[in-house]
Symmetry: C2
Subunit: 147 residues, 2 copies
């Protein structure tokens, strides 16, 4: 769905790979340890044909890797690639937003080891400043970087 003039936008590039709610919920479940078709289906209540299409799209886009775990009968499982794992923080930020604005009775996000509640927030890596405090622009790559 990316148009010609969208091709340089990093947001559009990300969304072109993972631009719908089902895909993101599949990645969430994969991040929580789910790997098999029937598990995804039960967790999401998703129609099998939609799940098949989304798993294929995420595999083609390089976020999931398909692995055969049984030859007789032939059965595959789906595990996150490095790019797929790298996408998980996006889901945590969406979850944090969901809790802030529509959070009554929602699960909280916790460190699985200690149980401590986590509050995902987006900062600039170099300065550690929360990025909501910046005014942000998108700059064409050929423009020379400043400062």
């Amino acid at each position: 769905m990316i148009e010609e003039f969208e091709k340089r936008c990093p947001v559009a590039r990300g969304l072109d790979r993972v631009g719908d709610a089902w895909s993101m919920l599949i990645l969430r479940d994969a991040g929580l340890g789910i790997t098999r078709f029937d598990q995804f289906r039960a967790s999401l209540g998703i129609a099998p044909n939609i799940l098949t299409r989304r798993l294929k799209a995420l595999t083609d886009a390089g976020l999931l890797e398909r692995r055969r775990y049984s030859e007789h009968p032939p059965r595959d499982e789906y595990v996150l690639t490095e790019a797929g794992r790298d996408f998980l923080p996006v889901l945590l930020v969406i979850g944090a937003w969901g809790r802030r604005h529509h959070g009554k009775g929602a699960r909280r996000i916790a460190d699985a080891e200690t149980g401590r509640t986590l509050e995902p927030v987006v900062v600039d890596r170099e300065t550690g400043r929360p990025i909501e405090s910046f005014r942000v622009s998108l700059v064409d790559p050929e423009e020379s970087p400043q400062a």
Copy 2:
């Protein structure tokens, strides 16, 4: 599209409001200062009927606010609400992912004031630790928080 058993998941709650690529690109454009129907249409190359539907959905979901800026002829513009502005960091993290994994020739994300390149990263607010280094779980609200 949220199923009964998804109702407690903060990620699903977020995606239920902003769960498709068009909605997120509309929010991106709103964050970059676009407010009017024809501007969104030109920026996104989106069909008018789809744009109308998405603007209404984002307004109903409380991320955009519709304001009349002309009475004759009647014309509305769309501006981010507080919840809408609060969603923008999600887009920056998607953009950072897009650049890392599909970034050749993509625009970079910069501080609009200084031009300095920003690298959005997700950290836990309290500890400042990058959240990709945690193993994360989702915890039902009635479970007592630990640690």
